[in-house]
Amino acid sequence: MTSKHLIISLLFLASVSVLAVTAQQNNAPADKPSTSSDKHKRIVQTQDEGERVFQEHCSRCHGAPEGFSPRISGTIVRHMRVRASLSQHEEEVLRSFFNP
């Protein structure tokens, strides 16, 4: 690898790191006390969002698996996080979608 390629590689990595830090700062969650109806509403929203993530990412390549053991849902979601470059939030809502 020449020094030119090394510099290009380092610049690429630096750009990605800056983008990642910026995005992390903008996505800071804010927890609030909630009632049981709020909790139920949030679960439904998470389910909808999980389905949306599945439609937007997973089903672009393949259909939905026909029923699988809840014991493996976490592994499937982790695999999809890497393959489909899901964000942490998308991984979480997808896991909730598989395990309501």
């Binding site: 990605v16 990642a20 393949h62 026909e66 493996i72 976490g74 592994t75 996080r81 470059s85 964000s87």
Partner: protein
Amino acid sequence: MLRKNPRFMPSVPARSTRCLLLALGVLVTAYSGLAQQTPILSGGAGFLTDTNSGNTTYSPIIEPLLAAPLGQKLLVESRAALLESFSPIGADQPGYNHSHFIGLTYLQDDYVATPHITIVSGKFLIPFNTYNERLTPIWISNYQDAPLIFSLGLLSSSTGLGGMLRGNALQRKKYSIDYAYFYSARSGNEQFRASRGSGGRASIYLPEQRLEVGFSCDRLLQGTHENFYGAHVWWEPKDTAFRLRSEFGRGQHAQGYWIETDYRTHAFGGLDSAIGRIEPVFRIQQTFRIDTIASDGLPQANTQRADFGLDYNLPHYIRILTSYARQFSSTGNHNVWETGIVYRFLFPAWKGKQ
């Protein structure tokens, strides 16, 4: 005779097979007792036939995939291919020639370092354009044959041996940006064959439009150093079962593109009705030779090809794949007929905690 698909390489000696089994054994022992994180055994099994210029090949194939999480941040995953290939001896002689192939497609560990950076190490699929990473599994691809430009940018073996950074760089409501950057070392090992090279891919996805546009580039860093460039566009309009996928690739000696569309209709009782399970597929592709130094796996002459497919999606994730293709080239035109049946399986690798 092996299939033309470059995913499958020549058969391997017993020593490499033992290495493969050992590697899979290591994976199998990678057990995590966390709920929902039992290792999975997934993949596809199929029986494929391919008639190319009148010569028919029959190929039973299994592609198992194993994924085992280790704790909260690490995932070890691997895919392999086990293929037996039969073709008539020909020349008015009865019987069949056959060959077999057992190979490790990839074996990698994925470490989720930060919400936006995943570190991948091991033998991994090279992230150049989309086909290699997303569409090579037999339970996903619509056609048995990879596109003609498949080998462009994949550094001979389609896998790298080294490290990769990848992840979601930026996530907004209206768009997201993901990236992958890899460096591969040179290896002559039978199961871990790789070339020295580096490169990456970046793509932007618009979820409202369901549109993805991405660019790839990499450089071969051994022998005659060569650059490869690629671009891809995927579009799946919302609330339809229409998909358009396309790629362009350019190397030092050749370039080309492919565009593939498939469609399933909701109109007659949804996708799970008898009609909704039918999936017409069409792919067009062209390759253009820049010079005759053939180091990239593309046809020796400019080639055009049209593939017409008709797939049927049975329940329990069984797919019947059929297609006819006509290939036009100054070196000769020919037909390619393909049929196959593929079953996708997915279950826990063993009994875990509830």
